[in-house]
Symmetry: C2
Subunit: 204 residues, 2 copies
């Protein structure tokens, strides 16, 4: 059995021991012979995968009523992995979702690090810097690179800390946020845990 989280750029597989990625553009999903439980955020690709006999869309097993119609299936599945806490999935967008007693309380979306950085560059050439991912968010900056880096990190961190709940970080930029949220837990398999929960199993 394989689990697979299909994003816009890659297939992310997990065989309950190891995980590996395949490129959405070049990988042929029909080459997989195992049973695959998947979720997919891409509508066209989702249709194609559903047509394969050994690929089963977990989305069909999920009751979405506690969430909302246009909420990404990846966020919904991640919410199945925990009962209480804040899930921060730091990818191309940063989604922040809150659960209390297993009930979804709501969540918000912040642009991901790259998108945020690029948005400064669209405003003015003078703001075209890479972020300082170690900017001190405890004191106000006095140079341009830090001023935009602080603008990305400090407000987001204040928002997340304001919930005063256990925080779980996942996604490609989890490690960067972990520096600022040392008490948070990093769980790169959170989504797969959610998928297993939906399948009625527990990850050891």
């Amino acid at each position: 059995m394989l689990l697979c989280d299909v994003g816009n750029t890659s297939y992310h597989f997990y065989d309950l021991e190891n995980d590996f990625k395949e490129d959405v553009k070049s990988f042929d999903p029909s080459t997989i012979e195992d049973e695959v439980y998947f979720i997919c955020v891409h509508p066209t690709l989702k249709k194609r995968l559903r047509a394969l006999p050994n690929w089963e869309d977990l989305e069909e097993k999920i009751d979405k009523t506690p969430f909302y119609d246009t909420m990404g299936i990846d966020r919904i599945v991640a919410c199945h992995a925990i009962t209480d806490g804040v899930i921060v999935d730091a990818g191309s967008a940063i989604t922040v979702d809150v659960l209390k007693g297993g009930v979804f309380q709501g969540g918000f979306i912040y642009p991901g690090l790259k998108a945020f950085q690029n948005s400064y560059a669209t405003i003015s050439k003078a703001l075209r810097y890479d972020f300082n991912t170690q900017v001190d968010t405890t004191k106000l900056p006095k140079n341009t690179q830090d001023a935009i880096s602080y603008g990305f990190f400090a407000p987001l961190l204040k928002e997340i800390r304001s919930y005063d709940m256990e925080t779980i970080l996942t996604g490609g930029d989890a490690a960067i946020l972990h520096r600022y949220l040392p008490d948070a837990k990093v769980d790169r398999h959170l989504l797969f845990r959610g998928m297993l929960f939906v399948l009625g199993r527990e990850l050891c």
Copy 2:
């Protein structure tokens, strides 16, 4: 005498009673016969204006050492208008600067409303919405439009409120932020007040 704040898109004039704007592309500054004190964020245009006999660049009268080298002259001048408080200039970028006892404490830059909105659209078509500028920032959202609107407003507001100081709002989107910061003061002439301070006068 006229004051003029020259931005990337317009000349913003103030005759100490009324203010008016002229387009940077179409307006000929040599048609002004009055004495003009100006600041200009655009390097090429600044050079051209300095060459005009009746246009005097206020930037030359300003000691920038309490600030930093690459800080925009508009932010520096605005900082001359107050002694204590937080200046939020909500334009194409949102600059947030803090002063205590007349001393610049530092500041940060957040993308402006339009740039922030556009950055979601670059991440995914599914995030292509106009912001709900009346989104409730006191509870976590449960729909996509509110999830991105909250992502723009709530973290920024938490950051600004964390200073617990008098807040002055200026710039084109000041009114939108004022809804969320009702105790803040809106001052559309803040920059001109700063220019007058530099000139050693006081605005009545």
